[in-house]
Amino acid sequence: MRRLRIILWCMVAVAAALFALFYYQLNQPKNDFVTSAMVGQPLPQFALEPASADRPGLATADFKTGEPQLLNLFGSWCIPCRIEAPQLEALERQGARITGVALRDTPEDVAQFLELYGNPFTRIGRDDLSETQFALGASGVPETFVIDGAGRITYQHIGPIAPGDVPVILAELRKAGSGS
């Protein structure tokens, strides 16, 4: 009985902690544009194997072309990534060069994802252990980074790209292009 009582008071404590968390989060401003510590920094070093048969892999050196590019983190298992797919295609149509990193994925699943939801990527690297994801300071999927021609991160977009975000990202790309 003593043990039962201790367990029960522990449950009360857990519930209290949970309610406190709810309260805290409820009063937190919802801001989807939280800047990562990596923004403004050069890209971390990575060299990733190709994630699909018809696109080359991705390495840090591929960004030092003098042209700004987008770096999109996605996964074939990620539902918000499907939602943002049309926006990535729209960005590509409007001249953005997009590279991708497929997180914790298999080549077959990536191929199927690209077939279903379109393939706006010039290069796709595979990141099986989320190492590059963490090195970029990203923690969720999808995320999109603007990288300038010198390989520096200039902008980070967290979450799926909504249609309204497309002009914002294009403007960031132009800014990155004129700055370097």
Binding site: Q25, P86, S139, G140, G159
Partner: protein, 646 residues
């Protein structure tokens, strides 16, 4: 005038709830018995008043009375009639009124019919019910008055989210609400029993129909919601582990556990504290679910239900009820006498395994759902998805299903394993045989493989309790158990088969092009625009045939609603006994070809057939239990121990 009548009825009902609370508390403390006599009539009258208020709301929506703010915000004169009416609860205020109406009806029903419990426990239950109710009355009347007027009345309403203009969804939220409310009744009973320290088999028998009813509605609600997401979102999936889906799954898991433990308490007077605990947890999960959906603190596909300010109110109720109940529980639990003991190899033993596994899965889903919320507090954003939920819950689901195969064959109290040895060995041999057989012929992933084998094993095992019995004399409750367990097997078969064998094609087709997916072959005939009452759409017309059989027509649409502006996908489904063809049409590419998505999903429909069977099993049990109770009430000497759980 009508809205004012509704509002007045609500205020009166709230006043009666205060009376019911006071009367109940005094009665439970054996003071002021004159006032205690008021508790039951107050509960009944409250039910009537809430019904009046809800009918008033239905009326203003049916006639599109735009001088009522809620109607102006959520309705539109051009909406089809059925969606005008369902719009009454397709919004925050209306759904809260529906909640409170169902809750008052349940309270009225208990007050009217329930005479088996000691009067003190009954009064404590009624006051707990009134206390919970008052929170929602306050919520409704102080911060979300559904009858608020708008002056001047606008010439036209704002419309309703087109995703919600769907017949399935018109009935999905109310179904879940009835389930949640049923659990609130179970919660009130648990608190009443706790306060008066009378946790008895009688208490379990009184509580069980409410748990059963709640569970039936939750099962139906989840099944319908899953089907809705499947055909309305156009992504071809039927479960996304989305926070809102999890919010409805968690109370179901708790209710399922409660349903089984309450049967142990009713039949064997064991698991007393545990049952009370589950009663509290089940309602907590409903409240947490409502909170997560309404507050919008988690990102979800169901973002239309979000309102952060109201989140604080629900959170306050959550703290009050759940925190309060847990504290009472911690204070009182030690004073509840321990129940009967039992052997590990017994019906109770198997049900305890079921309870542990269900609670573990509940914990897994809860952690997975809330984890992003916790890490976000430290500015780390994560998304938890199927790679976590599927394998981790399988760790507990698989042993639970194995025990499910054996448990119903065991006797209460104590049983020798030797008695059922051959049945068990045969069952496991069949399961293993299917596992190996499928593994040899088909190259599929591990989880679907295990799922298929277990589906066959559980399917056969679920029917065994009927073996050697006279089917006509088998109690309805036993039939209920058999049907529900068989439903689990059917649903599991559908899930495993869909994820193992589904075939997916994305094609860009011009008119006249041939398309094919799996065994289906066909052609895109025409694409043209069509107009509905409040939308226009691009409709693709296809003819498809299964393995060269008769041709069937599929006409998926990509719809544009204009009030409010929104694009949705209306998929075409061709159903056969062995699966469904799922066709969605997307945008036109620059070269003029149309994007078509086709899925062939073998046996996917079994998922929802299974869900319906599970609910049907619950319904059979409920009818069996209630009729037995009524018979027993006429002839109390028939009071024999029950042999089978719900």
């Amino acid at each position: 005038m009508i809205p004012e009548i509704g509002l007045a009825a609500l205020w009166l009902a709230a006043a009666l709830a205060v009376l019911q609370l006071l009367g109940g508390v005094l009665g439970a403390r054996r003071e002021g018995m004159e006032l205690a006599a008021v508790a039951r009539p107050a509960a009944v009258l409250q039910a009537l008043l809430c019904t009046v208020a809800f009918l008033c709301l239905l009326y203003v929506f049916a006639v599109t009375d735009l001088s009522v703010k809620l109607v102006a915000d959520n309705s539109h004169s051009m909406k089809p009639w059925i969606f005008k009416v369902s719009g009454a609860w397709g919004n925050h205020e209306g759904s809260m009124l529906l909640w409170i109406t169902v809750m008052a009806m349940a309270g009225g029903l208990i007050a009217f019919v329930e005479r088996r419990l000691p009067e003190r426990t009954m009064l404590a239950t009624l006051s707990a019910q009134a206390f919970v109710g008052l929170g929602f009355y306050a919520f409704l009347l102080l911060s979300s008055n559904p009858f608020q007027r708008l002056s001047p009345a606008p010439p036209e309403g704002n419309g309703l989210n087109p995703l919600l203009q769907d017949i399935g969804l018109a009935f999905h939220p109310p179904t879940l609400y009835v389930g949640y409310v049923g659990l609130s009744v179970a919660f009130s009973f648990a608190v009443g029993a706790l306060l008066t320290r009378s946790v008895t088999p009688d208490f379990a028998r009184v509580m069980r129909p409410w748990v059963l009813a709640a569970w039936i509605f939750l099962t139906l609600g989840i099944t319908a919601g899953s089907y809705w997401a499947y055909y309305e979102l156009g992504w071809g999936g039927w479960w996304f582990w989305d926070p809102v889906e999890n919010a409805s799954l968690m109370p179901w898991l708790a209710a399922t556990a409660l349903l089984h433990s309450v049967s142990v308490l009713a039949a064997r007077d064991a698991l007393r504290t545990w049952t009370i605990m589950l009663g509290v947890v089940a309602f907590s999960m409903s409240m947490i679910g409502t909170f997560l959906v309404r507050s919008g603190i988690l990102t979800s596909v169901h973002a239309f239900a979000v309102d952060p300010e109201r989140g604080s109110f629900i959170l306050a109720l959550l703290v009050l009820y759940i925190g309060g109940a847990l504290v009472i529980f911690a204070l009182r639990a030690a004073t509840i006498a321990e129940g009967e003991r039992f052997a590990v190899t017994s019906r109770e033993g198997a049900l305890v395994v079921n309870n542990i596994a269900l609670s573990a899965i509940l914990g897994i889903v809860l952690v997975g759902t809330l984890y992003p919320l916790l890490t976000e507090a430290f500015d780390i954003r994560v998304s938890v998805g199927p790679p976590y939920f599927n394998p981790v819950s399988a760790i507990f689901l698989v042993p639970m299903l194995l025990v499910l195969m054996v448990g119903p064959l065991l006797r209460w109290r104590e049983d020798g394993f030797a008695r059922i040895r051959w049945q068990v060995i045969a069952l496991f041999a069949v399961t293993l045989g299917v596992l190996l057989g499928v593994w040899l012929v088909a190259d599929i992933h591990l989880l679907p493989l295990i799922g298929l084998a277990l589906a066959v094993g559980v399917g056969i095992a679920s029917l065994l309790p009927l073996a050697g019995r006279s089917l006509r004399r088998t109690p309805l409750a036993t039939w209920g158990m058999v049907v529900a367990h068989f439903g689990v097997a059917v649903a599991l078969f559908g899930m495993a088969s869909d994820s193992a064998f589904q075939q997916e094609r994305l094609v860009a087709a011009s008119v006249g092009d041939a398309v094919e997916v799996g065994p289906w072959q066909g052609r895109l005939d025409t694409v043209y625009p069509v107009a509905g009452p409040n939308w226009t759409a691009i409709q693709a017309n296809l003819h498809l045939a299964y393995e060269g059989g008769a041709e069937r027509r599929a006409a998926p649409q990509s719809r544009n609603f204009w009030a409010p502006v929104m694009e949705t996908s209306e998929v075409a489904l061709l159903t056969r006994w062995n699966g469904q063809l799922y066709v969605a049409v997307g945008n036109q590419a620059q070269d003029g070809r149309w994007q078509l998505r086709l899925w062939w999903k073998p046996f996917v429909t079994f998922i929802w057939y299974g869900g319906v069977l599970i609910a049907l099993g619950g319904a059979l049990s409920l009818v069996g239990r209630v009729t037995t109770d009524l018979r027993r009430r006429r002839r109390p000497e028939d009071d024999v121990d029950e042999a089978y759980p719900a």
